[in-house]
Amino acid sequence: MSQGKSPMKDLLAAVPFVVGIVASAWGTQLAFHVAPIERTLKFSQKIFYWHAPIGMAAIIVTLIGAGAAVTYLINRRLGADRVAEACLEVAMLATAVSLITGCIWAKPAWGDYFPLGEPRVTGMFVLLLILACYFAVRSSVEEPLRRARISGVMAIIGAINGLVAYFAIHIWNTTHPTVFTAREARLEETMLRAFLWCLVGTVCLTVVLIRQRLRYARLRDDLESCEQLLMEREA
C-alpha cells in the first residue's frame, strides 16, 4: 500500500517553514531599518534580536526534551524517546548559536569574547556540556530499548543539573542585561516589535528543525528494524 502523504498535509507541514522565513526576514528588516540605535551599546545591540530568541528557544526546547524523557520512562513508548532526542539535539544547536552570538556581542559590550564567571554565560556553557553528555550516552548504548532508558535517565539528571547550575551561578552578581522581567519589557516600542517578529521566526524555524529531526529518527529506527529482520531471516 502506498504510504504517501496527502498534498494538504504537505502544505500544512510547510506552513511553519514559510512563516519562519518571512517573520525572520521581516524582523531583521525592522531591527536594522526601523528600530533605533541603542544609546550605550550602539550598533552591537542589533544582535540582541537574534541572540535573545535563540537563547529562549534553547531553554524551552531543553525543558520539552526533558519532559519527553520523563514521558518515555513512564509509558515506555519509543516515540517519546525520539521526541526527547530531536528536542535535545535542536536545543544543543540553539545553545551553541546563542553562546556564539553572545560572544560576538560581549566583545564590544564587556571587552572580552567570553566573560569568565558571568553567570548566564557560564550557565549556557554548562547546559551545552550537559547536552553533549546526553549524546555521548546515547551513542554508547546500541540496544534501542536500553539506549532509550539510559538516555531518558541522563536527560532528567541533566535537567536537574541545569537547574542546580542556574541557582549556583545566580548567587553571584550578574552583569548580564535584564531586558524582560516578569512584569515588563524594557524595550522601546519599535525595538519590541522587531524582537517579537524575530521571536516568531525563531519559534517557527525551531519547530521545523524538530520535525525534520523527528522524521530522520523515525526513518532511522525503521531502517534498523528492517536490518534486524533481515539478519534474523538470514540466521
Partner: protein, 239 residues
C-alpha cells in the same frame, strides 16, 4: 510457605553490600593506591605551579583544592565500578534476592564513606601544605568544623551523582571513558557551590549564618539528587 527463609531487613542487606565493598578495598587497597595518589599528585602540581607567596591562598586555594578533590572522586568512582565490571559482579548482585533500591543505597553508602575519607585527606593535606603567604587562613575550631561540613555536604552530592552515573555506564560501550566525562560535567554545579562556600569561609570576614544559608542550598540539591537517583535507579538496573 513455611519452609521459606525470611529475608533479612533492608538495612542489613545494605550493610552486607557495604561490608563486601569495604572488604574488597581492605584487601586490594585499590582506592588508596589510585585515587589518593592522584589527589596528592594534584596537590604537588598545584604547589609547583601556583606560587601562594604571590597569589592569595584564601582566594585561589578553594578552586584548586576542589579541583583536586573532584579528580580524586572521579578516579575513585571509576575504580569501584571497574571492579564490578571486571568480575561480572553486577550481574550476580542483580540476581541476588534484594530490591534494586537496596543495591543502589548499598553502593551509595560505600561510595559516600570512601569519597568523604579521600576528600578529607586531599582537602586537609591541601590546607596543611598550601596555606601560606599573604592570603594565609587562620583556622580555629569553628572554621574547621564548618570546613568539614562543607566537605561532607558537597562530597556526598558528588557520591550520589557518581553512583548513579557509574551504574548507568557500567554496561555501556566505552563506559570506563564515559564515567569520568559525565562525572566531570555533571559535577560542575556542585563544584561551583563548593568553591563559593569555601571561598566565603576562607575570607577574613565571614559569618556562620550566611554560610549556613548557602549550605542549606547545597543540602537541598543533595536531597534533590538523592531522590531523583533513588527514583531513577530501577530504570537503570532494569534488564
Amino acid at each position: 510457605m513455611s519452609g521459606e527463609r525470611r529475608r533479612p531487613p533492608a538495612w542489613r542487606q545494605v550493610l552486607a553490600l557495604v561490608r563486601k565493598d569495604a572488604l574488597l578495598e581492605l584487601r586490594s587497597k585499590d582506592l588508596l593506591a589510585s585515587a589518593l595518589t592522584l589527589g596528592l599528585t594534584c596537590l604537588g602540581l598545584i604547589a609547583f605551579c601556583v606560587d601562594f607567596l604571590i597569589l592569595r591562598f584564601d582566594q585561589v586555594g578553594p578552586a584548586v583544592l576542589w579541583i583536586a578533590v573532584l579528580f580524586t572522586a572521579i578516579t575513585a568512582l571509576s575504580r569501584t565500578f571497574a571492579l564490578e565490571r571486571e568480575d561480572g559482579c553486577l550481574e550476580a548482585l542483580l540476581l541476588a534476592p534484594m530490591g534494586r533500591t537496596v543495591l543502589f543505597i548499598g553502593k551509595l553508602v560505600f561510595n559516600t564513606l570512601a569519597l568523604n575519607l579521600l576528600g578529607a585527606l586531599v582537602l586537609g593535606g591541601g590546607v596543611l601544605f598550601l596555606n601560606q603567604g599573604p592570603g594565609r587562613v587562620v583556622f580555629d575550631g569553628e572554621r574547621l568544623g564548618w570546613l568539614a561540613l562543607v566537605l561532607v555536604v558537597h562530597v556526598t552530592g558528588l557520591a550520589v551523582l557518581g553512583t548513579l552515573l557509574g551504574l548507568m555506564t557500567l554496561r555501556s560501550r566505552r563506559g570506563e571513558l564515559l564515567l569520568p566525562l559525565l562525572q566531570g560535567v555533571l559535577s560542575l554545579p556542585i563544584l561551583i557551590l563548593a568553591v563559593i562556600e569555601t571561598r566565603f569561609l576562607f575570607a577574613s570576614v565571614w559569618s556562620a549564618e550566611r554560610l549556613g544559608e548557602l549550605l542549606k542550598l547545597s543540602l537541598a540539591f543533595d536531597v534533590l539528587f538523592l531522590t531523583a537517583a533513588v527514583l531513577l535507579f530501577p530504570a537503570v538496573a532494569e534488564e
